[in-house]
C-alpha cells in the first residue's frame, strides 16, 4: 500500500480551518464508502500524554517494569486511546475535522489492548446519515487493528454535521 505513515515527518495540522474547504459536507458523504485512513505508530509518549490529560495513573500504562510483571506482560494503552487514534489515523481533509462537528454519542467495544510500538490501522466509513429536528447526522463505523491484523477495538458514533 502506497500510504505514508503519519509521523513526525509531517506535523499534525492543528488549524482545522486550513483544509476546511477540502472536506466533505453532509451532502457529499456517501454511507458505506470507505474513508481514507493512515497507519499510525503509537508511541509511549503519546500514551503518557493521553494519560496525563484524563488523569490515568495505572502503572500498566506508565511503568514499564510494573507492566512487565502484570497480566499483559508489558506496557499497554488505556482502552479509550481510540480517542487519539481516531484523529491520528485520518488525514487532514477528513470530514471529522470539519470545524463545528458535534459529537452526539459513541459506543466502543474492546478486544485487545493497543501497545506502544504498535502500528495501528483504521477501517472507517459513514454507515448512515439522517436528519432529525433540522440537524444533519452521520453514523460512523470504525475498527482499529494492530500490525498483526488483530482487532483492537470497534466503535459506532454519531456526529452532528456543521451546516
Amino acid at each position: 500500500m502506497a500510504q505514508a505513515e503519519s509521523s513526525a515527518a509531517t506535523p499534525f495540522e492543528t488549524d482545522f480551518w486550513k483544509d476546511a474547504k477540502l472536506r466533505k459536507m453532509w451532502d457529499d458523504i456517501v454511507p458505506g464508502e470507505p474513508r481514507k485512513t493512515l497507519p499510525y505508530k503509537l508511541t509511549q509518549e503519546a500514551i503518557a500524554l493521553y494519560c496525563r490529560a484524563v488523569g490515568e495513573t495505572n502503572p500498566l500504562y506508565l511503568d514499564e517494569a510494573a507492566a512487565k510483571a502484570g497480566p499483559y506482560g508489558g506496557l499497554i494503552a488505556p482502552p479509550a486511546i481510540h480517542i487519539l487514534l481516531m484523529f491520528a489515523c485520518t488525514p487532514a481533509d477528513d470530514w471529522m475535522r470539519s470545524p463545528g462537528t458535534v459529537n452526539a454519542g459513541q459506543s466502543w467495544s474492546y478486544n485487545i489492548p493497543a501497545r506502544p510500538g504498535d502500528t495501528i490501522t483504521l477501517q472507517a466509513r459513514a454507515l448512515d446519515k439522517f436528519i432529525k429536528r433540522e440537524r444533519l447526522f452521520v453514523v460512523h463505523d470504525n475498527v482499529f487493528f494492530n500490525q498483526h491484523g488483530d482487532v483492537i477495538c470497534s466503535g459506532r458514533g454519531q456526529t452532528i454535521r456543521p451546516m
Binding site: F12, A46, V54, P71, Q106, W108
Partner: protein, 150 residues
Amino acid sequence: MTSANFDALKAGDTIDGPAFAVSRESIRLFCDASLDYNPLHLDDDYMKGDFGKTNFGGIIMHGMNNFGLISRMLTDWALPAGAIHRRLETRWLKPVKPGDTIRPAGTIKAKQTTAKSRWVLVDVAVQNQRGETVAAGEAMLEFPASAKAS
C-alpha cells in the same frame, strides 16, 4: 464503593469515579492528547456564534473527555480484580465548561453468565458540581471465570 467481585456484586451497587476539574488548560491538554483541535474547544470568538438553536457562549470540553474519565473509573475498578472493560456507550446531555468540576459514577445494573464467560452491566453517568448529569451511558465488564475472587 463496591469491590469488583462477580459473585458478591448485586444490582444497585455503586462505583465511585474521580473528580475532574475542567479548565481552559485541561481542555487544551486534551486537544494535544487527542489531536482533536475542533474550534469548539479552542476558539471563544467562534463559540460566540449560534449552532442551530444552541449558543454555548464560550469553549466547551470535548465530549470524549467524559468518555475517557468513565473509562478510567471502570478500568481502575476492574483491572485489580482481573476483570476487563469490554464496552462503553455514552451520550452527552449538557456541555461542560471551564470552571466546572465533573465526576463519573457507576451503578451495577445486571449480571449475566454466558457459555464462556461472566459479564456485568453498569449504568454510568457524569455529573457536574450542580448535580446536573452531563453524560450518561452503559458499560459492560467481563469477569473471566479465572478472575481473582476479590
